[in-house]
Every structure is written in C-alpha cells, then in structure tokens.
Symmetry: C2
DNA sequence: GTAGTTTAGTGAACAGTGTTCACTTTTCGA
DNA sequence: TCGAAAAGTGAACACTGTTCACTAAACTAC
C-alpha cells in the first residue's frame, strides 16, 4: 500500500496508476456537477465498477481523494492567473486581467472553489497538515497563487502606479480577500450579479470588472493627505 | 404540528415554546463550538434528554433548525453593523467602524458565518426559498445588512467624500464582497493574519483595519483621469 | 516452474447519520 | 368524563465512511 509518489514504471505500477486515475476522473465528474455531498464512496465505486472497499487501496480516505481534486483545481487556478499576469500587455491591463481571471476561474468551478475553503481552522494542533509558517505556505498551490498577487503589487509599485507606502504582502492579502469574497458571493448568493434594484442587465463579468477596477483604484498612488492614513503593519 | 409563528399565550403554547427554545439553545451551544458536522440530531436529543424523533415535532428538518441559527446570527450581525454605522462620530470613522464590525462579528462566530454561505446556488428552480428579486432579498437579514452598506456609500457620496460616479449599489456589492472575503479567509485559512514573510506580530484587528482603509480609499473621489475607468453598469 | 510473499479486490459488518411511522402517553377543551 | 389533539417514543429504513478477515491474482526468488 503506497498511495504517494513512488516509481511507477513497471507494468503493475502503470496499471495501478490507470485505476487510480480512473477513480479521480470519476470523482471529478461527479464532484464538478454535485459537489462534496453528491460524491459518496459507494456511488464512486459503482461508477468505476469496483467495490467500495477497493477505493481504500488507492486512497486513505475520502478526504484525501477530495484534497487531490482541490489541489488540482488550485494548480489550474494558479496557472491561469499566472498566465494572464504575464501576457504581453500594459501593466494595468495585465493587473486587471489577473484579478478577473481569478474570480472567473473560481466561479466556473463553484464546487471546487467552495470546497477548497470549506475546512475550518482548529485552534488546537489537531491538524498538523496546515502550513504554519510563511515558507511552508508558499509551497502550496494556494501560496503560489498568492505570490502572483504579491509580485503584481510590487511591479505596480516599481512602476510608480501603486502606492509605495503599502506593504506589498499586506496589499496582496487585501486583494486576495476581495477577490475571494466576490467569488464566494457569486457562488453562494443566488443571482448575486442580478441583485440590482432596477433589475439591470449587468452580467457577472461586468461586475467582476467593476470590482477589479475599484480594487486597483485603492492601490493607486494617492495625495499625501489620504495615503498617510494607511498603516502598513 | 405548527412550527411557525402562531399565538403562544396558552400554557401549552408557552411550554411548547420553552422546549423549542431549549432545542435551539442546545443546538447553538454545540454549533458554535463544533459547527454543522458536530451537530447531530441524536446528540442534540441526548443533550436535552429527549428522543431524536421528538425534535421533529418542533422542526421539520435539521436544515430548518440550522437555518434558524444562521438567521439569528445574521440578525445580530446586521444589528451590530447598523449600530456602529449610526454612532455619533465623523463619517469616515463610522464608515471604517462599520466595515471592521462586519468582519469582526463574522470571525467571532466562524461556524455561523461559514455556514451562512455554505449552500450553493442551483441553476434549476429546485430551491424556491431563494430570494430571486431585489425586493425579496431586501427583506432578508442578509439584505438588511447589505442595505447598511448602500446607505453608507450614499452618505459618503453626499458628503463629497466618495466618488459620485460610482453606482451606490454596485459599490456596496463590491464592499460586501471584500468584507466577506476577508472574513472567510480569516476563518478558513489557518493563521491568515500571521501570513507574513518576516513573521511580523500584526494582529487580526490590525489587518482588518488596513483592509478597511484600503477599501475606503478605493471609493474616494479621484482625479478625472482615473475615475473615468470605472464603469457603473 | 514452483514456492512464498506481496498486492488487488471483495463482501460483510460496524458505527454513525437524517428521517419516518406506528404506537403510547399525556394534555386540554367541550 | 369523554374524545380529540398534541407530545413523546422506539424501532426501523436507507444512507454514509470505514475496517477487516478473506480470497484471487500477480510478482519475486530460487
């Protein structure tokens, strides 16, 4: 029983990988459509024509399986955000695109994104897997996605477009929170984008753009009288 | 079986209310400490010394019970945000306090706040309870909390402190998203406030204040060259 | 090629969940 | 006091994740 990453070059190893992948594929299919509550081990087993207990030869628990889905999703998210922040365009366009990509990728796979933030921090030390310090966090896909934001802030500051008084990591955390929040509201609040008194026909994309513009505005260099209000830590 | 709001002036009615409240109290106690996963009907029944099926004489389902907890929490949230936005202080202080109160109240009851946004919108019409239009939403406690934000934006615009080019409801939605996101990250990302490369000693409150300041900055009146970027819908 | 040891896969079972339903007991109004 | 309505119960149903003894296949070493 070796569910991690050892050599898989022997025929048996390939066969094992094939089965494992088929489990993940089936799980992905169900999960994307119905989320965590729709995905049961027994249903999964039925879908791939194995017995429920067989799955436990490939994954230690349901949680580990779902963690794989979440990590894979975050890798994708990180990749897309990174790509759009490296495009060959003026900085402000790239910055905006980067923010918009984050929210759109998240909302396109609502169950994945929602599940990725569904566990709650326990104040005790019962979850040893949680990255405690900065370096550990930065090896996570979440951490990598976050570092894209930090780089973006720093580049904006270097260009003189963003306020240099802002601590880049703080500003990036603030940005992350704002993006995350919009994604969550779009996912969890029914018809969030249509929540307008006169029932305007604004699309989700329109509002995401509006939000991104507002965030960028907050980061921009300000008259001294305003900027001095911001404490950097 | 009448689980809603009829007259409760008769002795039997009072007794019924007492039992119902004791169920809610027990549920609240467990839920605040362990969240939805720790709260089972059987455990709840044990705690109040009734049989599990007795609970179904008072609540139609576990979901209805939890919905009550969530609504009560949101009423409290709304109340606190409203209070801090009506204090006798300069506008900017009130605005900041209002934003900070939202996040702090949310993070003080992590399971309540997380649970309040845990259901996912179904594109079909399977959830008839979801408020579809603006007016219906505004009768919700969520809606009322939201309207506090709208009022705040409008007051800031009237005072000339916030950019009048911003559509108030859009700006409020953007604000809500940013606050919601910070609350969620603090709740769901372990040690979010301590996520600093040099392990600075910034507290959660410090960061919430930083975030609020940044948001207010984004709303403030801008030079025309910047403000024209914002589309209002 | 055969013996022995891993590995793959299974079915039954355990402990738990929300929920229902026939049933008894209590309460209360006429 | 009688009868109806409500309160409360225990057993059962259909699920869930997970474990474990067990068999069947596959690989390693002689």
């Amino acid at each position: 029983m070796q569910t991690d990453i050892p050599v898989e070059k022997t025929p048996a190893g390939r066969r094992r990988k094939r089965v494992r992948d088929s489990i993940i594929a089936a799980a992905e299919k169900v999960f994307a459509r119905e989320g965590e509550s729709g995905l049961s081990i027994r249903r999964l087993a039925e879908e791939i024509d194995y017995s429920p207990s067989a799955i436990y030869k490939y994954f230690e628990s349901k949680e580990e399986l779902i963690d794989q889905l979440k990590e894979a999703f975050f890798e994708r998210l990180m990749d897309r955000v990174d790509t759009s922040s490296n495009a060959d365009r003026p900085f402000e366009d790239r910055a905006r695109a980067c923010l918009i990509t984050y929210v759109e990728t998240a909302t396109n796979r609502p169950y994945h994104y929602a599940a990725a933030f569904s566990s709650i921090e326990q104040k005790d030390e019962c979850t040893p897997a949680a990255p405690k310090n900065w370096d550990e966090f930065m090896t996570t896909n979440k951490g990598k996605a976050f570092s894209v934001l930090v780089n973006m802030v720093e580049e904006g500051q270097a260009l003189g477009m963003f306020d240099r008084a802002l601590e880049p990591v703080h500003a990036a955390k603030s940005l992350w929170a704002s993006l995350h929040g919009l994604a969550q509201l779009v996912i969890h609040v029914p018809h969030f984008e249509r929540l307008i008194p006169d029932d305007g026909s604004a699309t989700t994309t329109d509002f995401i753009t509006f939000h991104a513009n507002l965030l960028i505005r907050g980061l921009q260099a300000q008259p001294a009288s305003v900027a001095k209000d911001i404490k950097t830590g």
